[in-house]
């Protein structure tokens, strides 16, 4: 009993973690299902068929590919733009700081429905056709704020004396930036990019407002499929993405801790 009491916190934490992971577990389990009809909601039979043909349903891998392309492009652009803004905010004093902060904060405080619909109104007015370009623009927009916030936190905690030390040791402004500032801000930038990618990859609401039939992203595909019965391949791809994320994050961790420990 005392043992239980002492480990109460651990139990609570693990219970919460369980709650957070249970859908993934269910998704993974059902990725090995062989549904009798067209709906994959009831366990019938073990099968690795979907794993052997992850693209076996029309459109699924195209939509995954599109989501990955948009996710990578959007997170790249948002990371570049956001990092620049974060550096300005974290490293410089200038007039209009407060306004800039507000402008960066607002997209995070705006419900997605509102953002998606307002963009649609604008695009229609400007004659920008719906489709992957429109989606990309939207994704860059809402990822930007999150990148700024993630990178700014890091930049603000950087010791400005390190840059002075670099200058003192003969590094000019460009060298100082490339050799000292950027590497030190890198974890924040990586975190921002990762966050941006996951937000873009996962977005449905804003995307839905700006998509065209030729730009079905993976979440839209899932949504569409859910109205008719989701193919097992969706579970397979969901599980693969989860595993990739685990590998990427664990790998990143291992890499940075190995760098830290470097003999």
């Amino acid at each position: 009993m005392r043992w239980v009491k002492r480990h109460l916190l651990a139990f609570a934490a693990l219970a919460v973690l369980f709650y957070m992971l249970i859908p993934n577990v269910v998704v993974a389990i059902f990725s090995f299902n062989k549904p009798r009809g067209r709906y994959n909601y009831q366990w019938t039979e073990f099968s690795t068929e979907a794993w052997q043909h992850p693209c076996g349903t029309p459109g699924i891998c195209e939509s995954l590919g599109l989501s990955l392309r948009i996710g990578i492009t959007a997170s790249f652009v948002a990371t570049v733009l956001g990092t620049m803004v974060a550096f300005a905010l974290g490293r410089h004093r200038f007039r209009g700081r407060a306004g800039t902060n507000l402008l960066v904060f607002m997209p995070m405080a705006t419900p997605e429905v509102v953002m998606g619909s307002s963009l649609l109104t604008l695009f229609v007015m400007m004659g920008v056709p719906s489709g992957s370009e429109a989606i990309l623009i939207a994704h860059i927009m809402f990822c930007l704020s999150f990148v700024v916030v993630a990178v700014k936190a890091r930049v603000a905690s950087l010791d400005p004396r390190l840059e002075e030390a670099a200058a003192d040791l003969g590094a000019n402004a460009v060298q100082t930036f490339l050799r000292v500032t950027l590497p030190l801000a890198a974890p924040g930038i990586a975190a921002g990019a990762l966050l941006a990618f996951s937000l873009s990859f996962d977005d449905y609401i804003i995307t839905n407002f700006n998509a065209s039939p030729s730009s079905i992203t993976f979440p839209m595909y899932v949504w569409g499929a859910s109205t008719r019965g989701t193919p097992v391949q969706i579970n397979v791809i969901g599980t693969i993405m989860f595993l990739i994320a685990l590998v990427v994050v664990v790998g990143g961790q291992a890499y940075s801790s190995r760098r830290q420990k470097a003999a």
Partner: protein, 370 residues
């Protein structure tokens, strides 16, 4: 850039103001090449600002900085042949120790950067930690890396901003010895900022005591210590006993002058008395005072109010009839010790006293905290 235009470091009317506030008053100073120069003063007196101007990290509001004949006032930091050991070390956390040390050389395109960096690490006895990251080192080791990183560039001038401030006493003493050794080995000009006076005195050839943005006194350690020219220097550089006194007599044939303090006649060397001043503070260093009558013509009686043993020496506080306590330090060389409550006589030689103009604050420099 690589040419070694070495020479004395000269500050000419150098000054720095921040908005409302002048951190460094116009300062003229020459620091000769290859010397170990210490800048000493209380917190906020402008030491770091001065150093930063020399390094090029702060733009002077006025004046010039020269090395030899070359005016470097408007040269950028990365173009100056000056390096700094920062108080915070400012080691690059993402690089190995070796990369840290090689950083400056690489920026200048030195082909031999790695070998030179390894040599520099050997100089500070850290050859074996080159592959580690700075966080994996102790404070003392980090400090030595910072030193190697600066020295390896063979700058004309090396600036050290309280490099030992964060170390504990024992390590600090060790590092002081090491710094001295390195300086005599590489022979470049060291400008060392500290607010530990003992550190300054053991290490420097010349000390400048700064106060409120001005250099208050400049000289070799012994001269500064034995003949301070202001109460501030007297109190800041070591401890001083200051007695308010009036010059009553004329110089005698033995070169001493009689002054009167608290109804007692005391003698002070003529040489130590500024001209034309009658109201003075008579100052005596604690270690110059003797308990007993053997010390000289000057004698005061009092009661021991505190005794504290510090190992090498014992420090006594002796309360004077007029309430003030004098500090006496006596080496524990086996001579008899006084006890609290004992009535004692304090004596000292006339030449060990120094006189200061009484028109200043007797406690200036005592309490360095604001």
């Amino acid at each position: 850039m690589a040419e070694q235009l070495s020479g004395d470091l000269r500050l000419v009317g150098l000054t720095k103001s921040f908005e409302q506030f002048t951190a460094v008053q116009p300062t003229d100073l020459t620091i000769s090449q290859g010397s170990f120069f210490a800048l000493l003063g209380p917190s906020g007196c402008g030491k770091t600002t001065t150093l930063r101007m020399i390094a090029g990290l702060e733009d002077p509001s006025g004046g010039q900085i020269l090395i030899g004949d070359k005016d470097i006032t408007s040269t950028k930091a990365y173009q100056r042949n000056v390096n700094t050991v920062f108080q915070s070390y400012a080691l690059f956390p993402h690089m190995t120790v070796l990369d840290n040390v090689a950083f400056g050389l690489k920026r200048r395109g030195d082909k031999d950067a790695k070998r030179k960096a390894e040599e520099a690490l050997e100089l500070v006895q850290l050859a074996e930690v080159g592959r580690k990251k700075p966080v994996q080192l102790s404070g003392g080791m980090q400090q030595r890396v910072a030193l190697a990183r600066a020295i390896v560039n063979r700058p004309d001038v090396l600036l050290l901003d309280e490099p030992l401030g964060a170390l504990d006493l024992k390590l600090r003493r060790q590092m002081q010895i090491e710094l001295k050794r390195i300086q005599s080995e590489v022979g470049i000009t060291f400008v060392h900022v500290t607010h530990d006076q003992e550190e300054a005195m053991t290490m420097a050839d010349t000390i400048a005591v700064m106060n409120g943005g001005r250099i208050e006194q400049l000289g070799d350690p012994a001269t500064l210590y034995e003949s301070p020219r202001s109460t501030f220097v007297a109190n800041f550089l070591g401890q001083s006993n200051l007695l308010r006194a009036t010059v009553t007599g004329e110089p005698g044939s033995d070169g001493t002058v009689v002054v009167r303090s608290h109804d007692t006649d005391l003698e002070v060397s003529r040489a130590h008395l500024p001209d034309g001043i009658r109201e003075i503070f008579l100052g005596m260093r604690p270690e110059k005072l003797r308990l007993g009558t053997g010390g000289g013509p000057n004698q005061l009686k009092g009661t021991v109010s505190d005794v504290s043993f510090t190992g090498v020496a014992t420090q006594y506080l002796v309360r004077m009839p007029w309430g003030r306590e004098l500090t006496v330090v006596q080496q524990n060389d086996g001579s008899a010790r006084a006890v609290v409550g004992e009535n004692v006589t304090i004596s000292w030689a006339a030449e060990h006293g120094f006189a200061l103009d009484a028109h200043q604050d007797a406690d200036a420099g005592v309490d360095t905290e604001d």
